[in-house]
C-alpha cells in the first residue's frame, strides 16, 4: 500500500507491505538506522520516536498507521548541527556507554521533559520505566535528564 509520512520534516512516499512496522520502515526503507530495536514486546524503548510530537515505540505501530503523520527520529533532533540540550546533557553527564539504547532514551526523555519541565528525580526515574539500559545503571541518565528538566523549568 502507498503511504506518505513526513519524517524529520521530509515527506516520504513509499509503497509498503501493510505489515511493515514503523521501525522497519524507518530503518530499512529510509535508512534512518539511529532508531534501534532491542526487544519484541514493547518493553525496552530503543525504538522510541515522536509521532505528531508524542513519544511512540515505533516497533508497536504499523507504518500504515503513520500515514499522513509527522515522525521525528534521533537523526532529526539536532538543529543546524547544534545538539539538542538532551543530547548535550547525555554527553556531558556520561549518560551512555554502548549507545544502543541512547537514541530511544533521548527521544523518550525529550518528550517527557517538554511536558514535565522541572520534573523531580523520582518522576524522571519513574518515567524511564519504558526505556531499558544495560550499561549505565541509569545513574547518569537520570542526572542528564534532571539537568535538562531543571533548565526547562528556568533553573540553571
Amino acid at each position: 500500500m502507498q503511504i506518505s509520512v513526513t519524517v524529520n520534516g521530509v515527506v516520504q512516499e513509499r509503497d509498503v507491505d501493510p505489515r511493515t512496522l514503523l521501525v522497519h520502515f524507518l530503518r530499512e526503507e529510509l535508512d534512518l538506522t539511529g532508531t534501534k530495536i532491542g526487544c519484541d514486546t514493547s518493553q525496552c524503548g530503543a525504538c522510541t520516536v515522536h509521532l505528531d510530537g508524542k513519544a511512540l515505540k515505533s516497533c508497536t505501530l504499523l507504518a500504515a498507521q503513520a500515514d499522513g503523520a509527522n515522525v521525528a527520529t534521533i537523526e532529526g533532533l539536532a538543529v543546524d548541527g547544534e545538539h539538542h540540550p538532551m543530547q548535550t546533557a547525555f554527553w556531558e553527564n556520561h549518560g551512555l556507554q554502548c549507545g544502543y539504547c541512547t537514541p530511544g532514551m533521548i527521544m523518550a526523555t525529550t518528550a517527557f521533559v517538554k511536558d514535565n519541565p522541572g520534573a523531580s528525580e523520582e518522576a524522571i526515574r519513574h518515567n524511564l520505566e519504558g526505556n531499558i539500559c544495560r550499561c549505565t545503571g541509569y545513574h547518569n541518565i537520570v542526572k542528564a535528564v534532571k539537568q535538562v528538566a531543571d533548565a526547562a523549568a528556568g533553573g540553571d
Binding site: D40, T41, C44, H83, G99, Y100, H126, L128, Y138, V142
Partner: protein
C-alpha cells in the same frame, strides 16, 4: 593548554556519533543484494529429528534457498571449545552449526532459510516442517549428573563434561574436622540472560575474485572470531576479515563464536551473495549464552573467636546443550581461584563439575565465575558472623589481609598484586555510617519496619592475563595485547589496537593514556579498533583487560616513540640527548626554554627524514606487544541498605555505597560509569533477574515481559568512594574496573535483605529475591 589529562573526567570521544544516531551497528549496515537468513529452531529441549521438509519454504516467493545440516555436509566444521582446562577429564562433544539428528535445547538450529527480506525469511522458517521424536529432558545440572538422567551425548557419561579440583582435600578435611565452627549452605546461582541491548547480528560477504570473506558481527573479539571462522569454514585466516563495527554491549555474550556467524559465512560463500542475520530478542534469550547456573554446596570453617580458616565447595555448573567457546574455564579457573577473597584464610578446596543440560549453553557473563565465588564467600562470612554472634563488619575487619604493596601469595596460589583492603573497608563503613545505622535499624524494628544492611569486601582477578598462565590453564590463545601508535606527518595520531571495546569508553581512556605519555591533544588521537585487517592482533575486550593490557601496550609504544622523539629533537637542535627535557609535548634544551621542538615538529621531521641521526629509521610509529606479568587485582567494599515490606515482600534499595580501588583512575567519570552499570547488573541478580525453565526445558522467561530487567526506578543514586593503590607491575599502575560492580553487589544486597529479615529467622532465599519469594520466606520462617 596542558595535555595532562590523565585523571580527568573528560567527555567521551565516542559519544557524538552515538547521541545523534549516526553510529552504525552491524544491523545498520546495508549491502546491495543482501539476503536475510532465518534459522528454524527446535521447539523441544531434547529430541531426535525424524525428518525435515523445507520444500514448501523453498518454494515461497522471495525465498532463495533452504538448507539443513545434511546440505552443509562437511562445509562447516563443528564449533570449537577454546578453553580446554587440564586434568579434568574434559569432554568436548561435537557442536555442529545445525543440529545433526538430535536437538539438545530449545532454540537449537535445525535448518536455515535465505530470503530477499527478513519478513519473508521468517515466514519461510515457519513453513519448514520438522518432525521430532521427543526425548526425556534434564535442565538441572545436579540432576543431570546423576545415574539414570537423560543423556545428551553418547560420549559424555552422566553428562559430566569435566570435573575440576582445586586444593588438597585431605588438608581441607583436616581443617574442617577440627574447626570450632562450620557453616554450610546450598547456594543456587541462577541462570541470567546477559541482554546486551543490541541483539547479536552477523553479515557475511564473499568476494570470489580475492577469495576473501568479510564478516561484520557483534563481537567482543574479532581476531578470535577470525580464527574460529577460518577454522570452521576452512578458509585461510588471511582470507577472513572480521569487522566488529559499533557494538551495543556484550557483557561476555559476544565473546563466543556461535553457529549463526558460521552459517552466514557458509551461506554467503555458497550463494555468492551477502547474507545477513540479526536475532530477535526472543531468539537472543533462547540461543545467546546464559550466565551463572551453579548449584553450590558450600562450607566455611572458622574459630569461635572469628578467625576464618577455610572454605570448600562442590559446584555443579550447568553447561547447557553444548560447550560454548570459553565455557569450561568459567566455573573453574575464573571461579575457584577466587576462594580466598580479601581474607587471611589458608585452606581452600573446590570441586567443580561441568554438566551438560538441555538448556541454552552458558559462558562468560560479566564477572564470569568471580561473582559466583564472591557471593559464596560473603554469604558464608555472614553465616559465620551469625553463628558466633559477631557483627559481620567486625568479622570482616578481623580477617582482612593487611595492606601490601607488591605481591601477596594466597592459598589458591594467586599472587595478589597490591591492596589496602582495610582502607577501602573503613572508608565504606564511614560513608554508610554503619554504627548509626544499627541504631536506626533497632528503632525501625520497634515500629515494625524492617531495615537491613549488607557488606561485601572483595578482591578479584582481572586484566587477563599472563599468556603463560593462559597456556597452563588450557586457554587456547594468548592473553597479551598489541597496539600501534602511528603519528601522521601533520601530527595526528592513530592508535591501532587489537582489543575491541563495545561501550567501555576506551576510545577516550586510551587516548588519554597516549596524550599523557606523548603530549598530543586528546582530540588529535583516534583509537581504531574492531577490524582484523586494519588493526594488529589482539585477544579481545573482556575480563576487565582492555585498560590494563591494551593500555599498557599503548603506554609502552608511546614511550618508545617519546624516546625516538627525544633523540631526533636533540639531533635537530644540535644538542646532546641528555640535555633534552620533556615538558607537555615539547622537547626543550635544558637551560634555554625558547629552544624546543614540539612533538608535532618532531613527527613531521621523522616523516620527512631529511635530517636523521645516524642509524635512526624514518617514520614516526611504534608498536608494542604487551604480555602482563600478572593479573591485576582491584578491590573494595560495597554496602547496601534495604527496607523490606513484610506485607508484600517488596524490597526497597535505600542506599548503595561502593568504594572501589582500581589503581589510578584515568577518567573518573568512565570509572564511575562502569561501577554504576556493574552494580545494577549485580543487584539485579539478587533482586529480579533469573531464567526459569519448566521441566520440559521450555524457557518461561523468554521475553522482557517475563524476564525482569532492572529499571531506573529500582535504584537510588549511588554513593561512590575510592582509594588508589597502584598495581606495582603495571606501567601506569592501573587495574580493571569493568566487573567489580557486578562481583561485589549481588552478595551485598543479598546479605542486606537477610539482615532485614533476621527478626523473622529467615535463613536463606533463592535468588532472585522477588517479592513473592521474600513474602513466602517470611510466612514459612
Amino acid at each position: 593548554m596542558s595535555t595532562r589529562i590523565f585523571g580527568s573526567g573528560i567527555k567521551r570521544r565516542e559519544d557524538p556519533r552515538l547521541i545523534t544516531g549516526e553510529a552504525r551497528y552491524t544491523d545498520d549496515i546495508k549491502l546491495p543484494g543482501v539476503l536475510h537468513m532465518a534459522v528454524v529452531r527446535s521447539p523441544y529441549a531434547h529430541a531426535n529429528i525424524v525428518s525435515i521438509d523445507s520444500s514448501a519454504a523453498a518454494a515461497m516467493d522471495g525465498v532463495v534457498a533452504a538448507y539443513t545440516s545434511e546440505d552443509i555436509g562437511d562445509g562447516l566444521a563443528g564449533l570449537p571449545t577454546a578453553w580446554l582446562i587440564p586434568d579434568s577429564d574434559l569432554k568436548t562433544p561435537e557442536h555442529p552449526a545445525l543440529a545433526k539428528g538430535k536437538v539438545r535445547y530449545v532454540g537449537d538450529g535445525v535448518a536455515i532459510v535465505l530470503a530477499e527480506d527478513r519478513y519473508t525469511a521468517q515466514d519461510a522458517a515457519d513453513a519448514v516442517e520438522v518432525e521430532y521424536e521427543e526425548l526425556p529432558v534434564v535442565v538441572d545440572p545436579e540432576a543431570a549428573a546423576q545415574d539414570g538422567a537423560p543423556q545428551l551425548f553418547d560420549d559424555v557419561e552422566n553428562n559430566i563434561a569435566f570435573t575440576w579440583v582445586m586444593g588438597d582435600k585431605t588438608a581441607s578435611d583436616g581443617v574442617f574436622n577440627t574447626a570450632d565452627v562450620v557453616v554450610r549452605d546450598k547456594i543456587v546461582q541462577q541462570r541470567l540472560l546477559p541482554t546486551a541491548m543490541e541483539p547479536r547480528s552477523a553479515m557475511a560477504q564473499y568476494n570470489p575474485a580475492t577469495q576473501e570473506l568479510t564478516l561484520w558481527c557483534t563481537s567482543q573479539n574479532p581476531h578470535i572470531h577470525r580464527f574460529i571462522i577460518s577454522a570452521v569454514t576452512g578458509l585461510n585466516e588471511n582470507k577472513v576479515r572480521v569487522i566488529a563495527p559499533e557494538v551495543g554491549g556484550g557483557f561476555g555474550s559476544k565473546i563466543p563464536c556461535y553457529p549463526d556467524e558460521a552459517l552466514v559465512s557458509w551461506a554467503a560463500i555458497k550463494l555468492g551473495q551477502p547474507v545477513k542475520w540479526t536475532e530477535t530478542r526472543s531468539e537472543n534469550y533462547q540461543i545467546t549464552i546464559h550466565g551463572r547456573d551453579h548449584i553450590q554446596y558450600v562450607e566455611m570453617a572458622a574459630n569461635r573467636d572469628g578467625k576464618l580458616l577455610g572454605v570448600r565447595a562442590t559446584v555443579y555448573a550447568g553447561m547447557g546443550g553444548y560447550l560454548s567457546t570459553a565455557a569450561p574455564g568459567i566455573p573453574t579457573i575464573l571461579h575457584g581461584l577466587l576462594y580466598v577473597g580479601p581474607y587471611t584464610m589458608d585452606s581452600v578446596y573446590c570441586e567443580s563439575i561441568g554438566v551438560m543440560t538441555n538448556a541454552t549453553p552458558t559462558d562468560a557473563y560479566r564477572g564470569a565465575g568471580r561473582p559466583e565465588a564472591t557471593f559464596l564467600l560473603e554469604r558464608m562470612v555472614d553465616m559465620v558472623a551469625k553463628r558466633i554472634d559477631m557483627d559481620p563488619a567486625e568479622l570482616r575487619r578481623k580477617n582482612l589481609i593487611p595492606a601490601f604493596e607488591d605481591g601477596y601469595e594466597v592459598a589458591t596460589t594467586l599472587i595478589y598484586d597490591s591492596g589496602d583492603y582495610p582502607a577501602a573497608f573503613e572508608k565504606a563503613i564511614g560513608i554508610a555510617g554503619y554504627d548509626d545505622f544499627r541504631r536506626e535499624q533497632a528503632e525501625a524494628r520497634a515500629e515494625g519496619r524492617y531495615l537491613g544492611i549488607g557488606i561485601t569486601a572483595y578482591t578479584e582477578m582481572c586484566g587477563l592475563g599472563p599468556s603463560q598462565v593462559a597456556g597452563a590453564v588450557g586457554f587456547q590463545g594468548g592473553l597479551w595485547e598489541s597496539a600501534t601508535v602511528r603519528v601522521t606527518p601533520t601530527g595526528k595520531v592513530q592508535a591501532l589496537i587489537g582489543a575491541s571495546p563495545h561501550g567501555q569508553g576506551s576510545e577516550t581512556t586510551l587516548a588519554q593514556i597516549i596524550g599523557d605519555e606523548l603530549g598530543f591533544p586528546v582530540d588529535d588521537i583516534e583509537v581504531i579498533h574492531g577490524d582484523t585487517t586494519e588493526t594488529p592482533m589482539g585477544w579481545g575486550t573482556y575480563g576487565s583487560r582492555t585498560t590494563p593490557v591494551t593500555g599498557a601496550a599503548l603506554a609502552e609504544a608511546s614511550r618508545k616513540l617519546k624516546e625516538k622523539a627525544r633523540v631526533l629533537a636533540a639531533h635537530l637542535m644540535e644538542a646532546a640527548v641528555e640535555d633534552i627535557e620533556y615538558d607537555d609535548g615539547k622537547f626543550l634544551v635544558k637551560g634555554s626554554p625558547d629552544n624546543f621542538q614540539s612533538i608535532q615538529d618532531v613527527a613531521l621531521m621523522a616523516h620527512l627524514a631529511w635530517n636523521m641521526p645516524e642509524g635512526m629509521d624514518p617514520g614516526f610509529e611504534e608498536s608494542q606487544f604487551y604480555d602482563p606479568p600478572n593479573f591485576v587485582y582491584p578491590f573494595g567494599t560495597h554496602i547496601a541498605i534495604v527496607e523490606v515490606d513484610a506485607n508484600t515482600g517488596d524490597i526497597e534499595l535505600k542506599r548503595y555505597i561502593a568504594v572501589d580501588d582500581c589503581g589510578p583512575q584515568i577518567n573518573p567519570e568512565i570509572v564511575a560509569g562502569q561501577i554504576h552499570g556493574g552494580v545494577v547488573q549485580g543487584i539485579a541478580q539478587a533482586l529480579c533477574e533469573g531464567v526459569i525453565y519448566d521441566d520440559s526445558g521450555q524457557l518461561l522467561t523468554g521475553t522482557m515481559m517475563d524476564y525482569t530487567m532492572p529499571r531506573a526506578d529500582m535504584f537510588p543514586n549511588f554513593e561512590l568512594g575510592e582509594t588508589v593503590t597502584p598495581s606495582p607491575h603495571h606501567p601506569i599502575g592501573v587495574k580493571g574496573v569493568g566487573e567489580t560492580g557486578t562481583i561485589a553487589s549481588t552478595p551485598t544486597v543479598y546479605n542486606a535483605v537477610l539482615d532485614a529479615l533476621s527478626p523473622f529467622g529467615v535463613e536463606g532465599i533463592d535468588m532472585p529475591m522477588t517479592p513473592a519469594k521474600v513474602w513466602q520466606a517470611i510466612q514459612s520462617a
